[in-house]
Symmetry: D2
Subunit: 371 residues, 4 copies
């Protein structure tokens, strides 16, 4: 008996567009889901680009007009990897058409627009999911489970960071990333460590951030001699308080010269602690005062940490970045098919964005801001 | 313009069978190859098993008879993940049919049979490849390039190991792995570190090994109370000499209680050294006396290390184990399409197996054995 | 020719008192200094304690009255490891007597008192030094040298921490450490990371801190059932700005369950970065974009990093914590003998304390505080 | 009440001589031993050298004739850090004089001479100790205790190494280290990993070694243009079997370009494993299948691991290399004062040397050698 087929429409074929496409191609071989995705329509900036990308990524057809894709009857799920400013109109159209919406982070350029999108999706009752892929690793799930179980006691402190170096070169050009409309290190990657902090500990309710623009101007375009002033943050340090009273700090930094992927944190509890870095994404460090012979124990990912076993029956073989997207897509399809609700949904992404904006506000006012 | 389609036939649907299938599904989205694979026929032990696996892995049809699959006109490449003892008859049939053969390691149960397979493949002129997937990581390619360039000077020493713990439990049952016909830690995983040593330094010409069976009996079947005596090695330590005069040691150990995937080595040269462990498979450690401020530099995989960029345009995002198989399949398809020859081919796999057998012989004779 | 003898007087024989005594005993065998220390008088709370400690630590005599020690003509250097509240009177007496003063950190219980001590010492022109021993490691010196040389470009960010777990147990008793007079994690160990940040980057001019008391009460005395409310911080997170514009964050935490000695930092520059942790105190991590093959290079301490060679002629042999005190004492004696001025002096310690107090003030006001 | 004074005589004032002297100076401040050492006589190659060294290291007097020192009535313990070839005559003289003998490793240039020394010391009943200082670290003691307790089950495998780079430069000159009389990497540092293997697991009874001279000639003297042929090993790989049946391998390498101090091992047991490297000498890695959440736990040295607490009351503060010598000297003095016997004694050092020689023999014969 064949599984019901679910048609996929995708906007965008850049880094994340390719990542989505490949995840949809791979998912059925790895997860036993009630439905089978079919790559129907890829929309891109021009028909030519779309055609070419559709060919290379395995979609049935391409279109230069995302509205055509959204309206296509064969499309059940709309995946959005377009520039941030396009997220809202595409998502609204997909919601209006009653389709499942799967959007890359950040959900939109402002929290207000994100809220609008959230309310629309909720009112329409469509399945909606935002691509905070780093949450998908089994070791993050294990961390959450350990914290919830009380194994490290009551949480007392958080220290987190997302630091990369893709903008450390002062000649890295201006782009949507540095657009005052929703740009900056905090919005771009700070959102990852914020979403992870929320996932593991809970809502953040008070913030005080210090943002810095390290390079005052950047080339207007790649290799351009002309330069544009930059107003967004290259680096932000922030103090945070969670709803449950836990205090901590976090950093977002896209000019961290020595770091390719330092999405890392330590969570301390009264009876232990957990530590994680995306630099060793298949490991979780656990310290427990109850185990004797105290010290951080390096737990390697294995089949006992679902859904690792879907990828490999033996421990120590490592998931890669693209596998995280496959897990995300598996959860999306499961929710689409009426199974367990997938998260983080639009509302959660809106909350992350509100936290980012509160940090921006606190930076300007030099005051603590309550969210 | 559509690419020519290449039909894939697969034998087996276990760990490696799934891994092959998923790699063939994923490859076109990630690599731009001249041909497009189509999953045609999956052969398994029974028609029922085959049908079910074909469905879940995305093959057009299943069969309980591998001969049917090999003979199928729509099948151009025969991928073999059957039990080791089956490799030879399947490969010979595929070679006889003039098809490309892609076989899991070890190539066969004895070096003699492996040589037979090799000579048949060479005589027929068919493309042939063996699945030593750990060689595919960009950081192993980088290591090879660094060594070849003389960047660490002349190589003076090698120290390697492949240690896992999947048989450390004395109640891990007897299986094909512990069958005296081609079984044991040295044949099963020692072959990985041998193939890597050969890939990086060259042929091994003299060996002296010390094999040990740590658990004299194992359950006849999973959960069985009855036990079978075990004759193969759980752990082997060996001294080795390479053709170019370099000396070293290696260990194969499937009862290394603390290790999930310690496939690791250090290669020392007169002006530096390289170190690698599959436990941090996206890193290579480089020491160079010419750089000043001496110390191991931890190089993280990124787009400058092909084919990392096929998976992700940004560094630090990590490839996973399954991605290695995708790279392997991309090389296979490229070779099949008339592009660059892929390795390790049957002959190389035969050389690895000969090295394993020389180690077994030296263990029995307690003498150095020249290969 | 015998070297001139310098008489040492010490107050206190606890952890730090012993550490001072042993450093004075060891220093001449390791450093070639113009003078030779002689352990003259040890002062402690009672004559009995003092006598016993003098015996075990190798002092000529003990006294229950520190004034006697300070006044002793054979004493040239007064070393103070008494409770913090005693630092000021002892130091003032020693200064008045024209003696060299060597005081444990924190210099005093308040910045105001510390300033008083500083001005007295400066007016009297006596050599004065404060025991920020962690600055003494050759790798910290190397870090400073690398930063000053511009090797990592212009510094752009700082992220530091001093986290230990000695107060993570809620039943760790009240003591001078938890006394509102100068107590708390920030004053006790935050001062170390502040002094290191200043040493490496420069003065801190703006702060915003968030202090938390994690355990509201602690046993009044060791093993007491009665409990005292606690008002000092167990954990502080702070945002900081340096005089040169660099932004960053730091944490002081004595309830960091998993940490014995996480005095660590990363300093990012436009062309590289440095990272250090006291957990691997004999290593410095250097990242330089100018070296090619980018990645953190793990530099191990060796004779090329003075004064490592005074302890061992071969690299990789490791200095220990007590060796840091020997280096400190060597610098003290050198300054006493008229050689290079030793730091950090009282004024520097006062600046550290002022920074701590600014953080406390910002915590209360919830405002940024300019120092 | 003053403790009885024990007079120390020392031969040699190089790296190890200084190290001994400093340990004797420091020990009483750190350990409460029944006796108090006094540095009496330092013997060196010439009276001038001896005088100067006596002055800088704190000895009462120097002499150019070690016999004078040994005969000196004020000397109770003879510490030998002279060139290896001198160990035997000095030790025999000290033994004949009924004095405690403390000798650097290797005990002598041949096992036969070492046995002679051993039998003389045993016949005379004098306290004797050999300076295998790396055994003194509390974490090595902890490892031994864990193994003995059965916490990691029955030991099944050993993999060890002592690799440094002090001879990796082909222009590092000829010296006593490269003298065929007792020289080579195996004798010089291989002895450390052999002694550690014996300490932790037991006697080694069978060996098969492969020795290599990497640099066929070396400068006759430092900076000399003339070169001498080298006959000793720069690098040795060996297979070993312990008396209790455990198999393993070890490497001795003084031309390991990337390594300053890789004295490291992994010991695997049926229920766990231990791993250690002198590169992180204050840590022991423990894996236990009984603890759940499996993985290596990084145990940091602290006061619960005697005699760490003699150096510092707080964990995580790190012992250094020189502290190991202080522990050794504390054990020596305790034994001299009639307390617990200290090890490794001459007999143990002889056993180590016999193992080294068996390895040399096996290298020549290319056969396994039974000890």
């Amino acid at each position: 008996m064949r599984k019901p087929v679910v048609g996929i429409g995708l906007v965008g074929s850049g880094f994340m567009g390719r990542c989505h496409a490949n995840a949809f191609r791979a998912v059925s071989g790895l997860f036993d889901i009630a439905v089978e995705p079919a790559l129907r329509v890829l929309a891109d900036a021009t028909p030519e680009l779309a055609q070419q990308a559709a060919g290379s990524l395995g979609f049935e057809r391409g279109t230069g007009d995302w509205k055509t894709m959204v309206a296509d009857e064969s499309v059940d799920i709309v995946a959005i990897t377009a520039p941030n400013v396009m997220h809202s109109p595409i998502a609204h159209a997909a919601i209006a058409a009653g389709k499942t919406v799967y959007c890359e982070k950040p959900l939109s350029t402002t929290a207000a627009i994100a809220l609008d999108m959230t309310e629309a999706a909720e009112a329409a009752g469509v399945v909606n999911l935002v691509g905070f892929n780093f949450l998908r690793h089994p070791m993050i799930g294990l961390a959450r489970e350990i914290i919830a179980s009380g194994e490290i006691g009551e949480v007392t402190g958080f220290r987190g960071r997302h630091a990369e170096n893709y903008m450390s070169d002062p000649d890295a050009p201006h782009s949507f990333r540095t657009d005052p409309q929703g740009g900056g290190a905090l919005a771009d990657i700070g959102s990852h460590i914020i979403s992870m902090a929320r996932y593991l500990i809970g809502p953040i309710t008070q913030v005080q951030a210090d943002c810095q623009t390290l390079h005052a101007t950047r080339p207007t375009h790649p290799n351009s001699a002309e330069r544009t002033p930059v107003f967004v943050d290259d680096m932000t340090h922030a103090l945070i308080r969670f709803e449950n009273g836990v205090a901590g700090s976090l950093e977002a930094n896209w000019a961290a010269t020595a770091r390719n992927m330092d999405l890392s944190w330590e969570i301390t509890g009264t009876n232990g602690a957990l530590a994680f870095s995306q630099e060793q994404m298949n490991e979780l460090q656990l310290y427990s005062t109850k185990r004797g012979r105290c010290g951080y124990t390096r737990i390697e990912a294995g089949p006992e940490h679902p859904p690792y076993g879907n990828f490999c029956p033996a421990p120590g073989h490592h998931l890669g970045f693209n596998d995280l997207k496959v897990i995300e897509v598996a959860e999306l399809l499961t929710a689409h098919a009426g199974g367990a609700k997938a998260g983080p949904d639009f509302r959660e992404a809106y909350e992350v964005q509100k936290t980012v904006e509160a940090m921006h506000a606190s930076n300007l006012s030099r005051q603590w801001v309550t969210i």
